[in-house]
């Protein structure tokens, strides 16, 4: 809501000394937040003066354009008193008009410096200005189609134009919260200013209005719930071609509304002034009585914006004998629109139900200045005064005659009364607020208050439909006392239980990975079918079963991710594209797994849900486990003066998962698997016992290509929640002997398809109690080993806890180990 300061001051006796900054700051602290403050004069450096056009020579140009070579009298403002020669491209003025001239040396908004310059074969010494060029609202000073032409009595040549144009008048733009709909009017803003500075307020709605009679425009209201009050007045002989007076055009422009025509401008002006949306009808185009009713399904209406709208049975309509002529409180129709030929006007000032308007506005995606106010709540006692104000202005400015008839259908609901303990504001805010202050402040916002012992009853003003609960009264009292007076007191410290275990473990995982050279990223969980194709998922892959957004930002990505890999691989591609060739990324985040037919109940809010209701909510919310994903490309160790680098591979992806599990004290098992998006021969399944926690390995070459990352890039994804659930929280003390170690190396030849982990396990088992560790230190294939075979070299360490091993003991244990490996997987010891 934009409000010119001069307009605010019209209704409140603010001391002259109160600056615009102070006013804006005060209103901000009352809850009308300063959004922007603009003073047109501040954006311009003069000289900016009034000039009279002495001569105009029209000079056609080759491009078909016609420019005007003008001489303009600016008196002594140019230092010489000689007429100023200026080129002007606008055509909405004639010789003798008063215009606004920017002389050389002036700087206009946008740092636009004016100088004398040669153009179109003349020296143009200055500029004749339009409203837009001066940063004034569009359409101010009747400059719709060109420069500003001042009224003949606006001033004399050479006068300072800043004053003539009222450019020192600031416009404050406020952000109005939904509970302060009354401040969507000058009436409301001025009332707050009066409260803030504790000075009298003159209510522009406080006017004597003629009583209802039977002679007004005929109105029937079929739906009193949707339209509790409908006031109709009329005027005759309105001059639709009369110009909007400058003061009104300026205020409308300042408030951000384009002046259009006198009739429309008056209705907008009254809406801004009082907050009551007004609609005007051309009486000649009305057929019979105005009727307010709900639409029937399928009815249609072309609204003022030219859109044909299909109406719903819930829409509240204004109709006449011809059918719908407007959507109530939202937008009028074209058939009864005011036009240049309008002479008799029917004025509607009605009150409409906020919820009804809100739904209609959403249904038709039709926010308007009127609906914005109605949906938040307009003062239901306003219509009569507002209609009377419109009549007054049409008579005064448009030469109309007010008709005697006054139609009033319905009446405003009684004012609401809210009861509260007198000490409630003090108890809730922690400020020292006496019962007297509470009553006084409630009265300031317009309540009638009666006190009975420790309880007060506040009858809230008609313009405050938001005030319904005791705590609403608290806020009103508190904001006037001042939020800056709220003391700062720490609440008593509870004995907390510290950080939840899962969070501690997640931090540990992050630190382990970052320490190992992995960089964390955060990606959007929005995916589409193209991702599933890119990952090479089969049609029946579980990960294709997703939850969909009804209104995705990108129609290509309407699904919620069931795996972190699409986002992470896109990031990997981005890094490669930006020259970060060696990138090891990780991400932790939720994935969204549908349960089936989710249906979350909308419960009541007047009590806590029952156990069954709560269970229904829990059941409807999809499963959302936290996953950990990794992706890498390029080198894991750089090349350098120390020698060669080491290219990252499937082993690093699996290794990182092992590191994470290790940091959590979990022993994982790695088995060969074949799952998309991994290379079918280079994919591992990560297991603990029988539970598969995820996969890791080299990405399928097609997947690398799809995401624009080099071949052999690798990735992993595991269910982090499941992993954290297995974490070993208390590590038992290790036992290790201090007697000498005995080392034995063995090289075993097995079929190439035998997993080395199985061979190691067999060695471990076969070696008996003395074995301390089995470590694979080399893998060898080639001619010496034979086709389809591989040689695995293991280092075995033996130790007894209580003695030094005897000669031959370790050798015997080794032989037993080799024997079991031979038995289990046909391993043969290499000579």
């Amino acid at each position: 809501m934009k409000a010119p300061v001069s307009w605010i001051r019209e209704y409140v006796d603010l001391p002259e000394a109160v600056s615009t900054d102070e006013l804006a700051a005060k209103l901000t602290m009352l809850g009308l937040k300063l959004e922007a403050l603009e003073t047109p004069a501040d954006a311009i450096t003069g000289p900016l003066v009034v000039g009279r056009v002495l001569s105009i020579e029209k000079e056609p140009q080759k491009n078909g354009k016609v420019i005007n070579w003008c001489t303009v009298d600016v008196a002594d403002a140019n230092g010489t008193g000689e007429p100023q020669g200026i080129i002007c491209g606008a055509h909405n003025f004639v010789e003798g008009d008063l215009v606004v001239v920017c002389l050389p040396g002036a700087v206009l908004p946008g740092n636009f410096e004016i100088s004398a310059r040669k153009t179109y074969g003349h020296i143009s010494a200055g500029m004749i200005c339009s409203a837009a060029e001066l940063g004034l609202g569009e359409g101010a000073f009747n400059s719709h189609d060109g420069i500003i032409v001042l009224p003949a009595d606006a001033g004399a040549p050479g006068d300072d134009a800043f004053d003539v144009l009222d450019m020192h008048d600031s416009v404050i733009e406020f952000e109005i919260n939904p509970d302060r709909a009354y401040a969507l009017s000058l009436r409301g803003i001025a009332r707050e200013a009066a409260t803030g500075f504790d000075v009298p307020f003159r209510d522009p709605a406080d006017r004597d209005v003629p009583a209802a009679n039977g002679d007004g425009p005929p109105v029937v209201v079929d739906d009193a719930e949707g339209c509790p009050v409908f006031v109709a007045r009329s005027v005759t002989g309105f001059d639709a071609s009369a110009p909007t007076p400058e003061w009104m055009a300026q205020r409308l422009a300042g408030a951000g509304m384009r002046p259009i025509s006198l009739a429309v401008d008056i209705t907008n002006y009254v809406m801004l002034e009082l907050g009551q949306p007004i609609h005007g009808y051309d009486r000649a185009k009305l057929a019979g009585a105005i009727r307010v009713r709900r639409a029937t399904e399928g009815e249609q209406l072309t609204t003022l914006d030219g859109q044909l709208r299909k109406l719903s049975a819930e829409d509240l309509l204004i109709t006449d004998d011809s059918g719908p002529i407007g959507i109530a409180g939202t937008m009028g129709g074209q058939t009864t629109e005011l036009s240049e030929s309008t002479s008799d006007v029917v004025i509607e000032a009605a009150h409409f139900d906020a919820v009804s308007i809100f739904r209609t506005e959403r249904r038709h995606k039709l926010p308007s200045e009127a609906s914005k106010r109605f949906e938040r709540g307009v003062d239901p006692e306003l219509p009569a005064a507002a209609a009377d104000r419109v009549v007054e202005l049409m008579v005064e400015l448009g030469g109309a005659t007010a008709d005697d008839g006054v139609t009033v259908v319905g009446e405003a609901p009684p004012r609401r009364s809210v009861t509260a303990a007198t000490d409630l504001p003090a108890r809730v805010t922690g400020m020292e607020i006496s019962a007297e202050t509470t009553v006084a402040n409630l009265e300031k916002v317009g309540c009638d208050v009666t006190v009975n012992g420790d309880t007060l009853a506040a009858t809230v003003p008609s313009w405050r439909p938001d005030m319904s609960d005791p705590f609403d009264l608290v806020e009103e009292v508190a904001r006037i006392v001042g939020y800056d007076k709220v003391p700062s007191v720490l609440p008593p410290a509870p004995s907390g239980r510290g950080l939840p275990l899962a969070q501690k473990l997640r931090r540990r995982v992050g630190l382990v990975l970052a320490g190992a050279g992995w960089t964390e990223t955060i990606n959007y969980p929005f995916v589409g079918d193209v991702d599933w194709a890119n990952l090479g998922l089969a049609d029946d892959d579980e990960r294709r079963r997703t939850i969909r957004m009804a209104n995705p930002l990108n129609a290509e990505e309407p699904q919620l991710a069931t795996t972190l890999l699409p986002g992470l691989l896109r990031s990997l591609g981005l890094n490669v594209g930006r020259g970060n060739a060696d990138a090891s990324l990780f991400e932790t985040g939720l994935v969204f797994l549908p349960k089936g037919d989710e249906k979350a109940p909308i419960l009541g809010v007047d009590r806590r849900p029952t156990d069954e209701e709560w269970a229904a909510i829990e059941k409807a919310v999809p499963h959302q486990p936290q996953h950990l994903a990794l992706a890498l490309t390029g080198q894991r160790e750089r090349e350098g003066w120390w020698g060669e680098g080491r290219q990252g591979s499937w082993a690093d992806a699996i290794g990182a998962v092992r590191d994470v599990a290790g940091a959590l004290g979990i022993e994982i098992e790695v088995r060969a698997a074949s799952v998309a998006p991994w290379h079918p021969g280079r994919c591992a399944e990560i297991r603990v016992g029988e539970t598969v926690l995820g996969h890791a390995g080299e990405l399928h070459p097609k997947v690398c290509k799809a995401y624009g990352v080099p071949a052999r890039s690798a990735a992993a994804e595991v269910d982090l929640d499941a992993l954290l659930g297995l974490a070993q929280v208390t590590t038992p003390s290790p036992s290790f002997g201090s007697y000498p170690v005995a080392k034995e190396d063995v090289a075993l030849v097995v079929d190439a398809s035998v997993p080395s982990a199985d061979v190691a396990a067999a060695l471990h088992e076969g070696a008996g109690d003395l074995i301390e560790s089995v470590r694979l230190f080399d893998v060898f294939t080639g001619e010496q080993v034979g086709p389809g075979k591989k040689s695995l070299a293991f280092a075995l360490r033996f130790r007894a806890p209580d003695r030094t091993l005897k000669e031959g003991e370790a050798g015997a244990a080794r032989d037993a180990a080799v024997a079991l490996a031979g038995e289990r997987m046909g391993a043969v010891q290499r000579a």
Binding site: D469, V474, R479, G515, T519, E520, M549, L560, L574
Partner: protein
């Protein structure tokens, strides 16, 4: 080495002749002194103190002397050999020291060579900022709560006093999930965690909930459809706005340093009443000479978040007795907090995944 091969042609020394012995000693000492390095000294030791050296041979002769002469000759040769050995030992120490010094010089490396063999990793600054915030409250005895991101409409809106026809619903541009009957949304704020906490725990409640939230904003420098919020909730007997102010002041100081506190401005949120916007004293200019400050753009204050006293309607819907308990809640953007605390200018950097963004933040923010 030039000269006669004395090793194989030993000079005869008669142990009884003092002059011969002395001459040998002198020759030996001169040779020791002249040994330039350890190798030369080894040779000198062989010649003058070795088994076949003149003095060694002379020593061997002593046994063959008449008994009356043995004592004198023995003393003479023994003293001579002692002098030579001592000189050898001293020279050896000197030469070894010289050798070691030279070796250390020769082994000098260029310690300025790069050592960036392994990749440097980093955690995401948003993750670390969330943790830092949680730590501030955990240190005060609060607990950390979490909740799902796909949330029941009732918990995201209705339970928080935002019924279906509440205008505030349209202010939070919501991602709705299909089908409409599912009544599920991507949570638009972390506030449903408040509701969940109240519904599943008994007061007193002191919790902080950092988390990811969603709004249908196209990404640009200051917006993202995915962003992060932290929400605080306290429900206890006798809780007031003053406790809210105290908690936020403490939070502000913990995050931005001594002297950085907050101010409240009246505002509106359906789930709190009274409601306030929270501004932070600009931690760069501290409100002094704010006009030239780029962080607060001349305001002296930075908009930080929203807060208020929990609306009794919310307490009722969440099963907390509003007659017995009051509470407060607050919420702020973690991304925004991180951005102005660290001078990040473009929100896209946070979500794009370029490793160069996270890396300078390392493992602690």
């Amino acid at each position: 080495m030039s000269g006669p091969n004395t090793d194989y042609d030993p000079v005869e020394v008669t142990p009884l002749r003092a002059d011969e012995v002395e001459a040998q000693v002198e020759a030996a000492l001169a040779a020791v002194a002249g040994a330039a390095d350890l190798e030369a000294l080894k040779q000198v030791r062989l010649e003058h103190a070795g088994d076949r050296s003149p003095l060694a041979l002379a020593n061997r002769e002593i046994g063959a002397l008449p008994p009356q002469a043995r004592k004198e000759a023995g003393a003479r040769v023994g003293k001579a050999r002692g002098m030579v050995n001592k000189a050898l030992g001293e020279r050896l120490a000197v030469l070894e020291a010289e050798h070691e010094e030279r070796m250390l010089v020769e082994e000098t490396v260029d310690v300025t060579l790069p050592t960036d063999r392994t990749l440097s990793g980093a955690r995401h600054p948003i993750t670390m900022m969330s943790e830092r915030i949680a730590d501030v409250f955990v240190a005060m005895g609060w607990e950390v709560a979490e909740g799902p991101q796909v949330e029941a409409e009732w918990l995201n809106f209705d339970a928080l006093n935002m019924g279906a026809d509440h205008p505030a619903r349209t202010m939070q541009d919501t991602f709705w999930l299909e089908p409409a009957e599912a009544a599920l949304v991507l949570r638009t704020h972390t506030s449903p965690v408040q509701a969940r906490t109240m519904l599943t725990r008994e007061p007193p409640i002191y919790v902080v909930c950092p988390g990811r939230v969603y709004r249908t904003d196209e990404i640009d420098a200051t917006h993202s459809p995915v962003f992060h919020q932290v929400e605080g909730l306290v429900i206890d007997e006798g809780i007031t706005m003053a406790h809210l102010k105290g908690s936020l002041d403490h939070f502000a100081t913990a995050m931005f340093g001594e002297g950085i506190t907050t101010r409240f401005r009246p505002s509106y949120f359906p789930f709190t009443e009274p409601s306030a916007e929270v501004d932070l004293i600009c931690f760069v200019c501290r409100g002094i000479d704010a006009d030239s400050c780029r962080t607060c753009r001349g305001e002296g204050w930075i908009e930080w978040g929203g807060c208020g006293v929990v609306n009794p309607r919310v307490l009722t819907a969440c099963g907390v007795d509003p007659e017995k308990y009051t509470g407060f809640a607050f919420g702020m953007g973690i991304d925004r907090t991180m951005m102005f605390r660290h001078g990040v200018e473009d929100m896209r950097d946070i979500f794009e995944g370029d490793i160069r963004f996270a890396q300078p933040f390392g493992i602690e923010i």
